[in-house]
């Protein structure tokens, strides 16, 4: 059974069809890349999967559970985690607190109310801050982190919830080559625990990282296959690779 199955998802804004019958699949431990020119519908598709936008029709199945009309909370509780294009972290909170915010979200509200302490998550937090190279900043407010570190923190927060599927919206935007290389390793490591769907502009980055790539154009799937198949697809070459 597929981990994430997006089947014939369509979304329009007024008369503008942003997505038309888009289907995409992600399996456990697989990294799938989503590319396409600006306005091709990548972000709309990602938002339709995570619940920021509700699709007009189609299915979004996670572990066989239909989530197409569910709100973001239900989707997150079902095992979906997202890293947004612009890091949405809690800048006034410390790195540890940011990760704790994500870790404890799986506890029910009454469990949160009854809890007198925030200490029980410390072992998991320590593990994550080591993995994401944030040890030296554990007690630093997130606003003092560099751009790359903020992106890592958000991925760490997403991974803290132990998701089945990790959605990444341009995780390397604005990063230095060294940071991109480190991010690539972090994503590969994350894929050992869950499926990963990445929206990315940087084809070099994505072709080395992904098991499969889907190309979107004008809100439809133009091509789908392994990075080599996509690179060699004449239609993709002609229409997209020169533009992304």
């Amino acid at each position: 059974m597929k981990l994430l199955e997006v089947v014939d998802v369509s979304k329009s804004f007024g008369n503008l069809a942003a997505l038309t019958n888009v289907s995409i699949q992600v399996e456990t431990n697989q990294i799938v890349g989503l590319i396409g020119p600006n306005g091709s519908g990548k972000s709309t598709l990602l938002h339709s999967i995570c619940g920021r936008t509700i699709a007009n029709s189609g299915s979004v199945l996670l572990n066989g559970k239909e989530l197409v009309s569910a709100n973001p909370m239900i989707r997150a509780q079902s095992g979906m985690a997202i890293k947004f294009q612009l890091a949405r972290i809690y800048v006034e909170k410390t790195v540890k607190e940011n990760i704790m915010i994500s870790l404890q979200a799986k506890d029910g509200m009454w469990s949160l109310v009854r809890s007198g302490t925030t200490k029980k998550f410390m072992p998991e937090i320590e593990e994550l801050i080591v993995e994401f190279q944030l040890v030296d900043y554990a007690d630093t407010q997130a606003k003092y982190l560099s751009h790359g570190q903020q992106q890592w923190l958000e991925i760490a927060m997403a991974m803290a919830s132990n998701p089945s599927i990790l959605l990444l919206d341009e995780p390397t935007a604005g990063m230095s080559p060294k940071e991109r290389s480190d991010t690539s390793k972090l994503i590969k490591s994350a894929s050992k625990k869950c499926g990963v769907l990445i929206v990315e502009h940087d084809l070099d980055f994505i072709k080395d990282l992904c098991d499969r790539i889907t190309v979107l154009h004008h809100g439809s799937v133009a091509a789908s296959g392994t990075p080599t198949e996509i690179e060699n697809d004449p239609k993709v070459k002609e229409v997209y690779l020169t533009r992304v």
Binding site: C50, G51, R52, N71, P72, M73, A76, Q77, A81, I82, R88, Y90, V91, E92, K93, E97, M100, I101, S102, Q104, A105, K106, D107, M109, S111, L112, V113, S115, G116, T117, T118, T140, Q141, Y144, M157, S161
Partner: protein, 322 residues
């Protein structure tokens, strides 16, 4: 509890305990004025919990203050219920009921904007004040005067100093409860909702439930404050439900620094301490001065008095990083 928080709490508790012995010299007028600070302190805690900690911008918290006050005043005056414990339980119930009604209306559906919440709560406060002004059952414009002294274990709390310690005790317990909540996992969750409620939902938080619970809790704090006010002052009037008190509370929180407990409480204590004197010395200018102070705070210290300490911490952090 964080070390800084513990020190702050110790200071907040030590000053009121020692003040009557050191500074007040049995001056009943002064003691009543400080008692009023504790009572309004409950209102400040309620706004701080809803707005400062959870991001629910309420402009009508006095409505809940007045509800508690009217319940306590009516029962003490007309039904001879004077036991302070029982009256506080009734005020808590009234706060929970009225808070639940408003919270369900505001937060049970989709996310609503800060301005929408502010306007709805403002209107509620306005309507409550108008209702109390015209409803003869609760004394219309005169309110309910002649509220008898409250009793504790059957004994009348008739001396101002006794009520001072009762009010302080209740305020201190409420403050500790608020601090414990903020220090807990739930505190982190409500801060997450305050700072980015949509992001919090993407982590799996039930944003709506968190906002409802905090709104009810803060309404309950305000209602308890209202009950204590009626018993302390011996009357309740429509102004206790109204816009002036609601906006004053927001003013204390803005001046002190939203997101902290001690800043707004300090602002309340400072402003209330000088308010009575200044009203007699500069009757026409005082309100303008308060307005200018608010303006200056928003320009030069947008995060209030509490941010003075934060600024030096930020400088230290930047120095450390450079």
């Amino acid at each position: 509890m964080k070390k800084r928080m513990r020190i702050g709490l110790a200071i907040v508790c030590a000053i009121p305990i020692l003040s009557p012995l050191l500074f007040m010299n049995g001056n009943d007028y002064l003691i009543q004025a400080v008692t009023r600070i504790f009572i309004y302190g409950l209102l400040v805690l309620s706004v701080e919990m809803s707005w400062g900690q959870t991001g629910i911008f309420t402009l009508g918290q006095a409505a809940f203050f007045g509800v508690g006050g009217y319940f306590a005043a009516y029962l003490a005056t007309n039904e001879n219920v004077t036991d302070i414990g029982l009256l506080l339980i009734i005020a808590i119930a009234a706060g929970i009921m009225s808070g639940t009604l408003v919270a369900l209306f505001l937060f049970s559906g989709k996310r609503v904007g800060e301005l929408y919440v502010a306007l709805v709560t403002l209107v509620i406060s306005f309507v409550c004040e108008k209702l109390a002004n015209s409803w003869t059952f609760v004394g219309s414009g005169n309110g309910i005067p002649g509220v008898p002294f409250a009793t504790l274990f059957g004994k009348e709390i008739s001396s101002p100093i006794a009520f001072y310690f009762v009010a302080f005790g209740i305020f201190a317990v409420a403050l500790i409860v608020c601090i414990v909540i903020i220090d807990s996992q739930f505190g982190l969750a409500i801060n997450a909702v305050r700072d980015d409620e949509e992001r919090a939902e993407f982590f799996g938080y039930n944003r709506s439930a968190i906002q409802i619970v905090i709104f009810i809790f803060s309404a309950t704090l305000a209602s308890m404050g209202g009950a204590l006010f009626a018993l302390s002052e011996g009357f309740i009037s429509p102004s206790s439900l109204g816009l002036a008190l609601s906006t004053s509370t927001v003013l204390w929180v803005v001046l002190g620094g939203r997101g902290t407990f001690f800043g707004p409480l300090l602002a309340l204590a400072l402003l209330e301490s000088v308010d009575i004197e200044m009203r007699s010395i500069l009757p026409s200018l005082w309100q303008i001065l308060v307005g200018l102070m608010l303006l200056a705070t928003m320009i030069f210290l947008p995060k209030g008095l509490a941010s003075l300490g934060e600024k030096s911490r930020n400088k230290r952090e930047l120095r450390k990083r450079s």
